[in-house]
């Protein structure tokens, strides 16, 4: 065996190190791709947090126009950070024509605390659903809060975000999709006017 050949094991070792180093950086291992993308939002029946409407809310009640379904809870600190962004999105889309529909799923929470939270911090939601035991969450493949689904008018899941929505995500992922579905959003012109 020649001298260069002696370095072959070292080269293989370096290759394994490199694969390990880059391989483990490729993707956040906590990120779980949603099994629901492109599929219909599951059927469900849930009570409203505000007690209005009488009957249980079902999947059919969400259809007709694109809607954001936001899973949140008062025990979730990230939801507080996201809450301001949701309020801002409501105000921004209201200024662009009509406020985007946001339906909340109050996930494994105390309804009284949730009502107090909305009264205190503002209410960006059309209405909220109560999921006290997390059963609706299991149907949706939710494994933490906040999570947000974007549905088209037919009720198919177009996009899902695990973790908080922030300004960047709104601008890059959600607003363009809403705009493509014909929802007026202050995307592009209005933003550059402000900037």
């Amino acid at each position: 065996m020649n001298r260069v050949g002696l370095f072959a094991p070292l080269a293989v070792f370096a290759l394994i190190l490199a694969i390990g180093y880059f391989g483990f950086q490729l993707e956040d291992p906590h990120r779980l791709p949603s099994a629901l993308i492109g599929k219909p939002f599951p059927d469900f029946a849930a009570e409203r947090l505000d007690g209005e409407g009488g009957d249980l809310v079902r999947r059919a009640d969400l259809l007709g126009s694109p809607v954001l379904v936001n899973v949140w809870a008062t025990w979730c600190p990230t939801c507080k950070a996201e809450h301001d962004e949701l309020l801002r999105i409501r105000a921004e889309t209201a200024a662009a024509g009509a406020p985007v529909r946001i339906i909340g799923v109050n996930y494994k929470d105390d309804p009284a605390k949730a009502r107090r939270w909305l009264a205190e911090y503002g209410d960006p939601y059309d209405f909220n659903l109560i999921d006290a035991d997390g059963a609706l969450g299991v149907e949706l493949g939710v494994y933490g809060a906040p999570e947000t689904f974007l549905l088209n008018a037919k009720g198919d899941v177009v996009f899902k975000q695990v973790g908080a929505i922030d300004g960047q995500l709104w601008q890059q992922e959600i607003a363009p999709r809403l705009s493509a579905m014909g929802v007026p959003v202050a995307y592009g012109e209005a933003r550059s006017d402000a900037g």
Binding site: L32, S34, A35, D133, G141, Y143, G144
Partner: protein, 149 residues
Amino acid sequence: MAAPAALTFLLCCWPAWGASPVDVYEFPDAEAEARFRALIAEFRCPKCLNTNLAGSDAPIAQDLRAAVHRLVVREGLSDAEVRDYLQARYGDFVLYDPPLKAATLVLWGAPVLFVLAGLGLIAWRLQHQRSAHLSDADQARLASFLDET
């Protein structure tokens, strides 16, 4: 008498405590309970990277244990139907035994490739050694050196 009784109690109940310390579930028969235990041991908790549903204290694992219990006991689903239920909602992530498809081809194919590469390396080394054997002239020369000593 108290000590053997306590020991018997510990021996019976200890494993049950270890399995899932928080939830108490009722089962119509031992078979349903065995199926439930096997199923929750089989799935990966979505929140934790390498813990199964049975071994995790995460709230989502508790919810999914409750869901599996409901599906097995109240709705009478088969094991395959429970697997489909969880996979439809949480994706391949929850399966410790990933299905063979385009996205997982590397996962299944890489070990085979490594074995083939190893066999190739061994074959190459054997070939190389044989070609390093002495020629007839060198053999004769070596024999003459050995005769001299």
